[in-house]
């Protein structure tokens, strides 16, 4: 794996707009698809923090930031690696911005009762808040993934490690796996999850949920009739 691109780099190693255009023209199909898939997973991971942005928004933001020089492409790393790094950083920044805005909003509405007790309407109104619906959807998504991998205990163990925010090497060590065994299992579970997400995007979600889980409105893709 190439080293991660830095945010600010010496002027002489920063790519010009012409070089960026040329790089777009010479990206291999797999590189383009990798960028798209990477963006999809990052957006999916952002959840509510994506605030309606999709994978294309993330990829275009990375490109625009590169063209504008806000995230300079150091040509000592490949263009796809630079864009992956930019997307990683931008999506993390979106998450931080969302958390900060949410914390500010919550701080503004927290009041103190006459008994001197802090009253937070967000906590009290959780059952009816649209955001709480989306938060519960996250729970159901995790459960759906677990159900999907129910016949693959090793994949479930790896998912468990990720949920606990363990790194790949930490999971390998904890499970006594070789790097190859870990990577093979990750590849297998990624394919299953991608296929599951893809089917859902293509409208097969309802059919799938009839046999695997109960349907919740927030899990149905936008634009489709809700149950």
């Amino acid at each position: 794996m190439e080293k991660n691109p830095s945010h600010k780099i010496p002027e002489e190693t920063a790519a010009t707009p012409v070089e960026i255009n040329q790089a777009i023209d010479t990206l291999r199909p797999a590189e383009l698809l990798r960028l798209k898939k990477y963006a999809q997973f990052r957006i999916k991971g952002l959840g509510r923090a994506s605030q309606g942005r999709n994978d294309e928004d993330l990829l275009y933001e990375a490109l625009n930031a590169t063209l504008a020089g806000n995230r300079q492409w150091n040509t000592s790393v490949s263009f796809p690696v630079h864009l992956l790094g930019a997307m990683r950083s931008i999506s993390s920044h979106w998450k931080e911005q969302f958390d900060a805005a949410e914390a500010l909003l919550e701080a503004e509405v927290i009041s103190t009762t006459s008994a001197g007790k802090a009253y937070n309407p967000y906590v009290n109104a959780r059952s009816t808040n649209p955001d709480s619906e989306r938060m519960m959807a996250a729970k159901q998504e995790v459960e759906a993934i677990e159900q999907l991998l129910a016949d693959d205990p090793l994949a479930l163990d790896i998912i468990g490690g990720w949920r606990a925010e363990m790194t790949g090497p930490e999971i390998q060590e904890a499970l006594g796996l070789t790097k190859t065994a870990y990577e093979t299992t990750v590849k297998r579970l990624r394919r299953k999850i991608q296929s599951f997400l893809s089917q859902r995007e293509h409208g097969a979600w309802e059919r799938h949920t009839m046999t695997t889980a109960s349907v919740t409105p927030s899990m149905i893709p936008r634009g489709e009739n809700r149950v």
Binding site: M1, P29, K37, K187, I193, S195
Partner: protein, 151 residues
């Protein structure tokens, strides 16, 4: 005890981010095979992404050009309305411009197209405009001749 809803979001994010990093590490062959498994043609899907990236770059560059053009137009408009301490008569201004170009021939190359290099074809307005541009560039301020010709 059941987990807070935020915990589920955090866990889902950790899973999705880990999957993203696994895609970053995946080989070209794996990625192409996965796209085929999803029922898409990798070549067509990839060209669609490339085309969108090209469009994004084009829009960005056009916006940048438009912004530069607007900035240039605003500067020219500003120059038209700005008062410059230039010689008051057309003859004196023409003399000054000739003197500047004699001392700084590179400026003549930069500002005046070949057909106007003999000066006779330049209108009085052209001469005044050239002097204003030279003033904006700070060329007149550093010219001993200008001090002598100043009105």
């Amino acid at each position: 005890m059941s987990k807070q809803p935020e915990t589920h979001e955090k866990e889902l994010r950790a899973i999705m981010y880990a999957l993203a990093e696994s895609i970053a590490q995946a080989s070209d062959e794996e990625i192409l095979a996965e796209v085929r498994e999803e029922g898409d043609n990798p070549e067509i899907a990839a060209e669609h992404i490339r085309s969108s990236l090209r469009d994004t770059a084009k829009v960005y560059q056009q916006q940048k050009l438009r912004a530069a053009q607007q900035q240039y137009d605003a500067r020219i408009a500003d120059m038209r309305h700005k008062e410059y301490a230039l010689p008051t008569t057309p003859e004196a201004r023409r003399t000054l411009l000739a003197a500047v170009f004699a001392q700084r021939p590179e400026m003549q190359m930069a500002l005046v197209t070949a057909q106007y290099r003999d000066f006779t074809n330049l209108t009085d307005a052209d001469v005044e405009s050239q002097l204003k541009q030279l003033k904006e560039l700070g060329v007149l301020d550093n010219l001993p001749t200008y001090g002598e010709t100043k009105p």
